[in-house]
Symmetry: C2
Subunit: 385 residues, 2 copies
């Protein structure tokens, strides 16, 4: 048997959980029943007090850590933070990671069968919001016998879900970990999302979202969406350091083939993504981002929205992140302080832009580990009494 790294959770097997209770969504529509695909790492303790929920971002899924097969070259998307001895220490925590509703990795979504028609949902899958996801995640907690999470943790769109948890289920989490997120999208964020949506929906292969039946894939649209997205994930400095103005062939070609390294890189990223991700899911995820605005129901006063929260908060941002800049994280921190809540905030020096939240930057991992270990220390002390 292959040796996985010592600090890896090793081989993991996703499970599909079926929910029979209907879920009423923010749009007013109802999902009569649905599936969630889930992975767990570590052991739930007897008191069910050491559970951590991982919420994923735009293109994420349930496979956050470990390997699916011995041949896998890459582990889950947040393997840098989840494992024995890592920031989210699976020797101490029971970690739950799911693919959200509307996703394209096994949970009910556009590319799964609509039980009413026997055909893929496609564009008929309802638009879901961050609050809808939190609702479905609460159902998952019920199913797993977890009354209260030790922490709900997420980066980017995942951090938004953690924030929503603290507002919608104040008694069901003790800590809320929000990394590289924002209390709502900026106008510019929405603008970039709209470019991505137009690229996908105007691709002739999109067929109004019914491309499954046509045996086609709107690859160009997805590729363009990912290219635009990718530019916003990297910092300008990081891009310059990594690619500069380097030319593939060493000299200008005077044609329109990719010639700067950054062009080749973006095309490669875009094409790879378009071969694996579902276009309808991309549209849904960007809408969930655009719609997220927990203060909207509270007179646009985030502090007011956070009045009823009961957990403690850890908020982290990265200096060169221009998608969700440190200023945006500080809006959350300021509102928490105004609401009289406990919050730890760290701003990490990093050249990697928004992507930094996925990268094991030493200072980031130290501060993140320290916070998570304090949670584990406290609950182990408490449970030992």
């Amino acid at each position: 048997m292959k040796d996985f790294p010592e600090d890896s959770v090793g081989l993991v097997v996703p499970q599909t959980i079926h929910f029979d209770q209907p879920l009423t969504l923010a749009s007013g529509r109802t999902l009569p029943h649905y599936d969630l695909v889930v992975e767990t790492y570590g052991q739930l303790n007897a008191q069910a007090s050491n559970a951590i929920l991982i919420c994923h971002a735009l293109s994420g899924h349930h496979h956050a850590a470990g390997y699916h097969t011995e041949e896998d070259k890459k582990p889950g998307w947040w393997d840098s933070a989840i494992g024995p001895g890592k920031a989210i220490d699976t020797n101490r925590f029971f970690v739950v990671s799911l693919n959200n509703l509307g996703g394209c990795h096994g949970s009910s979504g556009p590319n799964t069968l609509n039980p009413e028609t026997g055909q893929p949902y496609g564009p008929d899958f309802p638009i879901v919001t961050v609050a809808d996801w939190v609702q479905s995640q609460a159902g998952l907690a019920d199913h797993l016998g977890i009354e209260q999470w030790a922490a709900v943790v997420g980066g980017s769109l995942g951090g938004m879900q953690a924030l929503q948890w603290s507002i919608d289920f104040p008694e069901r989490l003790r800590h809320c970990v929000i990394i590289a997120a924002a209390p709502k999208l900026s106008t510019q964020n929405i603008a970039f999302n709209e470019v991505a949506r137009q690229a996908i929906s105007k691709d002739p292969q999109f067929h109004q979202g019914h491309y499954y039946a046509q045996g086609s894939v709107p690859k160009t649209g997805l590729m363009l969406a990912r290219m635009v997205g990718h530019i916003t994930y990297l910092s300008e400095d990081g891009m310059r350091e990594k690619f500069g103005r380097e030319l593939r062939s060493g000299k200008l070609s005077f044609d329109f083939n990719p010639q700067f390294e950054i062009e080749t890189y973006l095309q490669y990223q875009g094409e790879r993504f378009s071969a694996t991700f579902d276009a309808n899911t991309y549209l849904l995820m960007t809408k969930a981002l655009d719609y997220f605005d927990p203060a909207a129901d509270y007179d646009n006063n985030l502090a007011l929205a956070l009045k009823q929260v009961q957990c403690d908060f850890f908020v982290a941002s990265f200096t060169t992140d221009w998608r969700f800049s440190p200023e945006r994280s500080r809006e959350i921190v300021d509102a928490l302080i105004e609401a009289g809540k406990k919050v730890t905030y760290t701003e990490i020096q990093a050249a990697h832009g928004h992507d930094a939240f996925l990268i094991p930057i030493p200072r980031y991992m130290e501060v993140f580990s320290a916070y998570m270990n304090r949670i584990a220390d406290t609950l182990e002390k408490h449970d030992a009494r």
Copy 2:
């Protein structure tokens, strides 16, 4: 007859100038002959010493000021800065504005006839560089009997042409006015250009650039290119102030139709642009931007590239411009200082991002006017002797 504003140059008539001398381009290819479409405003003085060349940016053209018909609702693209009593005072200066080679407003370019084939050049029009444009503009100066420009002036890509003029023809301009430009594109700038190019060239209506013959237009690609471009022209703050998260209908629609004001705005801008601009020209213009790097031939030392320049410089940038930020203008200024040249630099407070260079912001117009009027004062004094 309609009354135009008093500070307008009024009705203007473009003229097409044919050049019979072949132009050898940076790519090694040759244009055997070509047309340039030109507008002029004001009067050339007897000494031909009061001529100003205006260089246009990515989507610009020769029509910089005044009106083509009495029914025109909008004047030329830089009417805010060109006219009687304006920053570029047409009572004092003779102003020359042209459509660059490769453009789509009448000068030889992809949408004009290739004399060799009798068909539109299309994708066979050679890739042109900023240095090629400067070369062709020097030919235009010869044609007009202008040995030395009082100033070469441009914003954005236009500013790059002005900078190139100072290097390639040091004796043929007395002043170089560079507004909201950069000494070369950043990796991020190139990345955004590549998204635009991919959007256009992967549009099924593009037909490898031969869409004229097909009677088609790659409208979706052009629309996407313009949407991405437009986001980089506006500042994040400006976008928030202008559009915020305002919803067209006042509430979330839970569908994929444009619902935030910014979505409608970008789509409108993109669609309008795609109806009037040529896709092949867009590709050429972005390549000219990507390739611009006058320091490249001087060991990447801009100060060395500027050693032979003889003119004085005026450089202006805008605080919220993130396409070509003030830092990029300061690179030019620093290199000029290092090379021992005369440079005036101003950084204008403005919320409008890169677009600010087209907007008559009072402080900007004051400083710009002051510089241009000093040029006029000096030459009128000199010519009176």
